[in-house]
């Protein structure tokens, strides 16, 4: 069965510091992975996705993630965060073969301080 684990429920960081949000997955089928961001009082929007090809995926707002098959990880990184990056971040994996459903992690709240 597919599952996603986000070990950090909250990550506090100062502005302009680097950040890494961790995501580990379990999947018995081909792995398609996603990071979504939810800004306060908004729905989720796609940050980036890994479907195949290069293991380093670049997304919007300067974020990138690396697919690591041996460690079953898909960590999200940004070299220098801004106050406006304060949001909740969700990792997701496709829920199985021949399905359009996604399995979401429990989310990581990134809080950027000045």
């Amino acid at each position: 069965a597919q599952s996603v684990t986000q070990l950090d429920s909250q990550v506090p960081v100062f502005e302009e510091a680097p950040v890494e949000l961790r995501c580990n997955y379990s999947s018995s089928v081909s792995v398609y992975l996603f990071w979504y961001v939810q800004y306060p009082n908004q729905g989720l929007q796609l940050l980036l996705k890994y479907l195949s090809g290069s293991t380093l995926v670049k997304g919007i707002n300067g974020f990138e993630a690396e697919f690591n098959k041996s460690q079953t990880s898909f960590h999200l990184r940004k070299p220098s965060v801004h106050i406006s990056d304060t949001a909740e971040y969700f990792c997701a994996v496709v829920g199985g073969r021949n399905t359009d459903k996604l399995i979401f992690g429990t989310g990581t709240r990134l809080q950027v301080f000045p």
């Binding site: 979504y36 729905g43 929007q45 796609l46 996705k49 359009d100 459903k101 996604l102 979401f104």
Partner: protein
């Protein structure tokens, strides 16, 4: 841009009331989803629809039903609201097109309080 619109941002209802949450998407997407979002639990799938009048239970369907009479509209129904259904409800849609497969587009959410 894809637009997924949820009819209400905030709703307050009483225990036992029948509640309708409406969601409309304007991109002719085949698939539509209803999730609830709770702190520490992430998003949990309630119901999923892959075509008009077609539906599939998600992980937590108990206490909910859905209706999809038109392709663009997907309604979530709480037959008899209870306090444990107080939550944020998110609607999403996604197309079958291969290049956008599995990418879901979300509405802004409806925060429901059941008193």
């Amino acid at each position: 841009d894809v637009k997924v619109t949820q009819s209400s941002r905030y709703l307050v209802k009483r225990t036992g009331e029948k509640v309708f949450l409406e969601c409309v998407q304007d991109m002719d997407h085949e698939n539509m989803f209803w999730y609830r979002q709770d702190p520490g639990l992430g998003l949990r799938l309630i119901y999923f629809s892959y075509d008009v009048k077609m539906k599939e239970k998600g992980d937590i369907p108990e206490g909910y039903s859905v209706s999809r009479e038109k392709k663009e509209r997907f309604s979530l129904i709480l037959e008899s609201a209870s306090t444990n259904q107080t939550s944020m409800y998110l609607c999403a849609s996604n197309p079958l097109a291969r290049e956008k497969k599995n990418i879901q587009y979300f509405g802004a959410g409806t925060r429901l309080s059941v008193l």
